[in-house]
Symmetry: C2
Subunit: 278 residues, 2 copies
């Protein structure tokens, strides 16, 4: 799905992609910053725990956000029928932020995809509501989602499987638990299929906060590996055999720690200290 | 140590850096190709098992190379005194190739460094003798060697420790078991200290064969990640605190599978198919 059409002067909402395992009790800076974007003490956050099969996956976040101020509620969507409920539709009307938990991103896309909930999230984000996801919830944000693939591998033919995501951005492809699960091969494989997007490999307890203009800032204790394939001069993907390692020549890579920025439109990275005057 | 001075028309020997765990019985293409460079049936290969503390580390390679043809012998160098032996000096005179096994690269540099064996290897390679190393033996080939550091980490201040290597090339810094041990953070850390060299991250059962002109070709079943920091526009290494993740903007990265080439002098990568006419 392409990002929802933007109309007139309406600014889209922030997108927050978290690499998983974000701090929840000690120094939860990522969750706090999202909570502030949702209105702080006036926040009304909808938590979507669909990616997880754990009963209490949503409740933990509800408690965390309510402790920070405002209201939060978990909306269990366990099958497609749930996504057509009038109650869910009504509660989406009143939400000031959406938070999508971790788990399996294919549960998210297969249960929510094409339903009023997916449409609602897209419409809310297009008109200013922040949407955050952690781990699987981060993967599903983009139009082209990494559904699975080999960790710990060099880039290979068939090294990543793709699926359509929620389509809140088509500028990036996201991978998570990035350094911890050694996923650079999988991200490069995904990018090589059609090198039009930037790749974001997000470490655990690390997030990108993408503002309405498409400039992301890194928050958290790890780093984000940005892969820009715009100047890729050769890829052997099209004539590789099954599971062959592939050759990719001319990738640009930035390693961005907290405070560093990247513009997903211009593809320019800026270091933390250059932002002081901002 | 800088590479030995080249005199007149004498061509230096090949350098072969292997990422470890190379095939030894089934399809040992890397070892066979090195063996051919050493003269095939006329080969006289010296195996240096110093990196390993296992008694038979050298014998395994001796048997493999002798099965391929010619002669091979292991030269155990277990302390610095061994490196001053007249027998060792005499057998170096007759060698057509040096093979350095895996283990701990600091054993290699601390036992061999500065001795007649180190001088001998440098002189032999400068005058045409191929030198190969696997794993720790690959790391020690370069002037600036990664001695240790964190695997599985994002690039961090203090994320890699460096030591002087044998200095057979100063154009590259080598890391090995690359994808298998998730070492891109460690290699980027090492490069960021002084981004003058290209970084080579070599997967297991994968090697770079660097010809006398400095053009390397990838051989084996994995890939080599080449990091060219020539256009690095920002590094936060100089003002990072202990173990902080660092920001690096503007790295160029190539993923090279079998048959792809990279010129360590011009820093140009070429895909496998472009070599057909060569």
């Amino acid at each position: 799905m392409c990002p929802a059409k933007k109309t007139g002067d309406v600014r889209p909402g922030w997108l927050i992609a978290i690499g998983g395992a974000e701090n929840k009790l000690k120094n939860p800076e990522i969750l706090e910053r999202f909570h502030q974007l949702c209105g702080g003490n006036n926040a009304r956050i909808m938590v979507i725990p669909t990616a997880s099969e754990l009963e209490d996956a949503g409740d933990q976040y509800v408690q965390l956000f309510e402790r920070m101020g405002g209201k939060a509620h978990a909306t269990p969507l366990n099958d497609r029928e749930d996504c057509y409920s009038e109650d869910v539709r009504a509660s989406m009307e009143k939400t000031s932020g959406i938070f999508i938990t971790g788990g399996n991103q294919l549960r998210l896309s297969t249960i929510i995809g094409g339903t009023p909930v997916a449409h609602g999230i897209r419409r809310l984000n297009a008109t200013g509501t922040p949407v955050a996801g952690t781990s699987a919830g981060a993967a599903v944000i983009s139009e082209h989602m990494i559904a699975g693939g080999r960790s710990r591998s060099t880039p290979r033919e068939h090294g990543a499987t793709m699926a359509p995501g929620l389509g809140l951005t088509n500028k990036v492809i996201i991978d998570q638990h990035f350094r911890q699960r050694n996923r650079i091969g999988r991200l490069l494989t995904a990018l090589s299929y059609n090198p039009f997007a930037s790749g974001l490999g997000i470490d655990e307890n690390t997030a990108v906060f993408i503002d309405p203009e498409g400039v992301l800032e890194v928050v958290g204790s790890g780093a984000v590996t940005v892969v820009d394939p715009a100047e890729l001069s050769h890829s052997s993907m099209h004539d590789a055999h099954h599971m062959d390692p592939i050759t990719l020549i001319g990738l640009k890579v930035h390693i961005l720690a907290a405070g560093a920025r990247y513009d997903v439109n211009t593809r320019l990275a800026t270091p933390p200290q250059a932002n002081n005057g901002r």
